[in-house]
C-alpha cells in the first residue's frame, strides 16, 4: 500500500521532466519479466537476444561496456564464454617489436566495436552515428517499451509525410524519421532452441539482452531490496511500538 502511494507520489512529481521528451511517439506497453520488485531476467531470452544482437545489430552498433566474462549472467559457463570470446578478433599490443597485432578474444576482453572511431561509423552510415547499445534501455524514456516499439515500429509513411533520401519512417521514433534502416523483418535469425523468430519475438529477446546490458546488477539489487524493505518494515513497527511505550507517561 505504502509502495503504491509512494509510486503515485513519484509519478505526480516526476511527470513533468519524464514526459518532456515525448513527441508524436507511439509506445507499445508490454509486460517484461524484469518489471516490478520481484522481476528477473529470462536467461534463455537473453541468450537469444545476444545471438540476435551479434547477427543483426553488431554490424553497426557497439556494446562497449560489456566484457565476455559478463556473459556468465546469461547462463553461459566458463568454457562457453571462452569459446564465444575466441570467435572474435581483438587488437592487442604493442608487442616486443612495437607492433599492434590481432589475437582471438579472451573472457576479460570487452566486445570489440564494429568501427574504429566515430568518424568511421558516420562514414559507413550516411553521416548518422549508430549509438552504443550498452546503456540504451536506460538512456531512453521508458527504455524497454521504447526499444521494442522502435524495432517493431517501421511502417509505410502516412500520406502527407515525405521521407527524405536515406531516412525511414518509424512510429516510435521522436519525429518519426530515423536514419536506421528497418533491421528486422522476421526470421532474421535461426534460434538453436527453435524459439519463435517473428519481428516481435526477436525484438523482445533483444530488449531482454539489452536491459541486462544496461543494468546487469538488477536481479541482486531487487533481491537485496526485498530483504531490506522487509527488515526496515519490522524496524519501523518496533520503533513505533517503543515510541508509544516511552511516551505513555507524557500525554
Amino acid at each position: 500500500m505504502l509502495k503504491r502511494i509512494f509510486a503515485a507520489m513519484l509519478a505526480c512529481t516526476l511527470a513533468g521532466p519524464a514526459m518532456a521528451a515525448s513527441g508524436n511517439v507511439e509506445l507499445q506497453r508490454r509486460d517484461w519479466s524484469f518489471s516490478g520488485p520481484f522481476g528477473t531476467f529470462d536467461k534463455a531470452a537473453m541468450q537469444r537476444g545476444f545471438q540476435a544482437y551479434r547477427e543483426v545489430c553488431a554490424g553497426c552498433h557497439s556494446l562497449e561496456l560489456i566484457a565476455f566474462r559478463n556473459f556468465a549472467d546469461l547462463g553461459y559457463n566458463e568454457a562457453e564464454i571462452k569459446a564465444i570470446a575466441a570467435q572474435y578478433d581483438v587488437q592487442d599490443g604493442p608487442n616486443d617489436d612495437g607492433e599492434m597485432f590481432m589475437r582471438p578474444g579472451i573472457a576479460a576482453d570487452r566486445i570489440p566495436s564494429p568501427y574504429l572511431n566515430e568518424n568511421a561509423a558516420r562514414a559507413g552510415n550516411n553521416g548518422a552515428l549508430p549509438p552504443d547499445l550498452s546503456l540504451i534501455t536506460k538512456a531512453r524514456a521508458n527504455g524497454p517499451d521504447y526499444l521494442f516499439s522502435l524495432l517493431a515500429g517501421y511502417k509505410e509513411a502516412p500520406e502527407g509525410v515525405t521521407v527524405p533520401e536515406g531516412m525511414h519512417y518509424n512510429a516510435a521514433y521522436p519525429g518519426n524519421l530515423i536514419a536506421m534502416p528497418q533491421p528486422l523483418y522476421g526470421e532474421d535469425v535461426t534460434y538453436s532452441d527453435g524459439a519463435n523468430n517473428s519481428v516481435e519475438a526477436i525484438s523482445s529477446d533483444l530488449v531482454q539482452f539489452l536491459m541486462w546490458a544496461a543494468e546487469p546488477k538488477m536481479e541482486v539489487r531487487k533481491r537485496i531490496g526485498v530483504a531490506a524493505v522487509f527488515f526496515l518494515s519490522i524496524f519501523l513497527i518496533f520503533s513505533y511500538l517503543a515510541k508509544r511505550r516511552i511516551w505513555a507517561d507524557v500525554h
Binding site: G16, A20, P37, A214, K217, A228, L232, K243, V250
Partner: protein, 408 residues
C-alpha cells in the same frame, strides 16, 4: 555537570580532562525540549542523516571515480558494474541527494508554517538558508560529475547564467569553467568543490545546532515553554520519536534505491556528454525546477538570474517581512490560507520548470513567479499588520485553557 555522575572509572578519568561525556549527557538529558513537537520536527534529524549518508557514500565513490572528461562517464559505469556493490553505493548516493532535498523542503515548509524563523531564531533560520544554498551548489556540481548529456548541458546552462552579470560576468564564467568552455578544467574544479562543500555544510550545520540550542526548538503552538511542566528531555522521548521518522525515511529510500533507482533521474544522463549535440529539452534535477521556472519566466537574462537568486535571497529577510508576533499558523487563519496557496504555487513552479518554455507554460510561469514574490514581499508584511489572530493558549501544557490569551 560533575564527573561523579559517571560510574565507569575510565569515563570519569576522561571526562575530568575532556568533558565530552558531560556534553553528551547535557544534550541528552538537560536540554529541555517542548513536549508537544509533532512529526514535522523529525526533518532536521533526517536532513542530518541524509548529509551523513551522502558524505560516507560520496567518499567511497570518490575512490573509484575519475574526474576526466574522457574517463568520468566510464568510471561511473565501472562503479556500477565492476566495483563490489558499487551499484548500491552509487544508487544510494544518487537517490539520497533527492531525498535530502525532499527532507529539507519539508523542514523549510515546517519553519514557514510554524513561524520558526521569528525572534529570537532569526540567525538559526538564516544559517538554514545558507545550508540550503550550499546544498544547491553541491548538488549541481555533483550532477555534473558523471559527465552525461544532462551533466554537460546543465553545467553549460547554469554557468552561463553568470555571464548576465554586467561587466564582470564573462570573467566569472571563464573562472568557473577554468577555460573558454565547459571542459576538463570545469569537471576537475567541480569535483574538487563537490568534495569540499559537504564539509562546509557540516560546519554550518554545527552553527545551526548551536543557534538552535540557544533557545531550543519552536513548537506547533509557537509559544515559549513557561516551565519544566512544558518540556521533556531529548532522550529518550525525542530519540525514539526520531527513530520512527528515520525508519520511515530509510524505508522509502530503500524502496527507491532498490526498485526505482532511476525514477528521479533523467534518461539523457546515461548518454555520454557530447558538446556537439544539444538535448531536446535541457532540464535540471527536479529539486531545482521551481527556481528554473522563475529563471525562464523573465524575458531578460539578467532579470531572470536576479529573480532566481532573489527567490532564495528573500528567505534571508523573511524574519523582518513577517513581523506578526504570533508564530504558529494555527492561530493565524489568514496566514494559513496563504501558506497553502504558497505551497501550491511552489509545486506549480516545479511543474512548469519541467515543461518547455513555450505557450501557456510561459504565462503560467510568470503568474506563479509573481505570486511567489507577492507572497513574501506584500502579503506577509500586510498580514502581520492587519490579520486578527486567534487567542493564544496560556502554556504548552494547557493549550485548551487558552481563552484569555493575547492577540496581535
Amino acid at each position: 555537570m560533575s564527573a561523579e555522575k559517571f560510574q565507569n572509572p575510565v569515563v570519569r578519568w576522561i571526562d575530568h580532562r575532556l568533558p565530552v561525556f558531560s556534553m553528551l549527557d547535557h544534550e541528552k538529558y538537560d536540554y529541555p525540549v517542548p513536549k508537544n513537537l509533532n512529526y514535522m520536527w523529525n526533518f532536521g534529524v533526517l536532513a542530518g542523516m541524509a548529509l551523513a549518508i551522502m558524505i560516507v557514500t560520496g567518499i567511497v565513490l570518490a575512490m573509484s571515480y575519475t574526474a576526466h572528461v574522457d574517463y568520468a562517464f566510464e568510471s561511473v559505469e565501472r562503479i556500477m558494474r565492476d566495483v563490489n556493490h558499487g551499484w548500491l553505493i552509487r544508487y544510494i548516493h544518487m537517490n539520497t541527494a533527492s531525498f535530502f532535498f525532499i527532507v529539507v523542503y519539508i523542514h523549510i515548509l515546517r519553519g514557514l508554517y510554524y513561524g520558526s524563523y521569528k525572534a529570537p531564531r532569526e540567525l538559526l533560520w538564516i544559517l538554514g538558508v545558507v545550508i540550503f544554498l550550499l546544498m544547491m551548489a553541491t548538488a549541481f556540481m555533483g550532477y555534473v560529475l558523471p559527465w552525461g548529456q544532462m551533466s554537460f548541458w546543465g553545467a553549460t546552462v547554469i554557468t552561463n547564467l553568470f555571464s548576465a552579470i554586467p561587466i564582470v560576468g564573462d570573467s566569472i564564467v571563464t573562472l568557473l569553467w577554468g577555460g573558454f568552455s565547459v571542459d576538463n578544467a570545469t569537471l576537475n574544479r567541480f569535483f574538487s568543490l563537490h568534495y569540499l562543500l559537504p564539509f562546509v555544510i557540516s560546519g554550518v550545520v554545527v552553527l545551526h545546532i548551536v543557534a538552535l540550542h540557544r533557545f531550543g526548538s519552536n513548537n506547533p503552538i509557537g509559544i515559549d515553554a513557561s516551565g519544566p511542566q512544558d518540556t521533556i528531555s531529548f532522550h529518550p522521548y525525542y530519540t525514539i520519536k526520531d527513530m520512527v521518522g528515520i525508519a520511515v525515511f530509510l524505508l522509502l529510500l530503500a524502496m527507491t534505491v532498490f526498485f526505482f533507482p532511476n525514477a528521479m533521474g533523467h534518461p539523457d544522463n546515461y548518454i555520454p556528454a557530447n558538446a556537439l549535440q544539444t538535448p531536446a529539452h535541457i532540464v535540471p534535477e527536479w529539486y531545482f525546477l521551481p527556481f528554473y521556472a522563475i529563471l525562464r519566466a523573465v524575458p531578460d537574462k539578467l532579470g531572470g538570474v536576479l529573480l532566481m537568486f532573489g527567490a532564495i535571497a528573500v528567505l534571508f529577510i523573511l524574519p523582518w517581512l513577517d513581523k506578526s508576533p504570533v508564530r504558529s499558523a494555527r492561530f493565524r487563519p489568514l496566514f494559513r490560507i496563504f501558506f497553502w496557496l504558497f505551497l501550491i504555487d511552489a509545486i506549480l513552479l516545479g511543474y512548469l520548470g519541467g515543461k518547455p518554455a513555450e505557450g501557456i507554460y510561459v504565462t503560467l510561469s510568470r503568474i506563479a513567479t509573481a505570486w511567489y514574490f507577492l507572497h513574501f514581499l506584500v502579503i506577509l508584511p500586510l498580514l502581520s499588520m492587519f490579520e486578527t489572530t486567534k487567542p493564544l493558549p496560556k502554556s504548552i501544557s494547557e493549550p485548551v485553557l487558552g481563552s484569555s490569551g493575547r492577540s496581535a
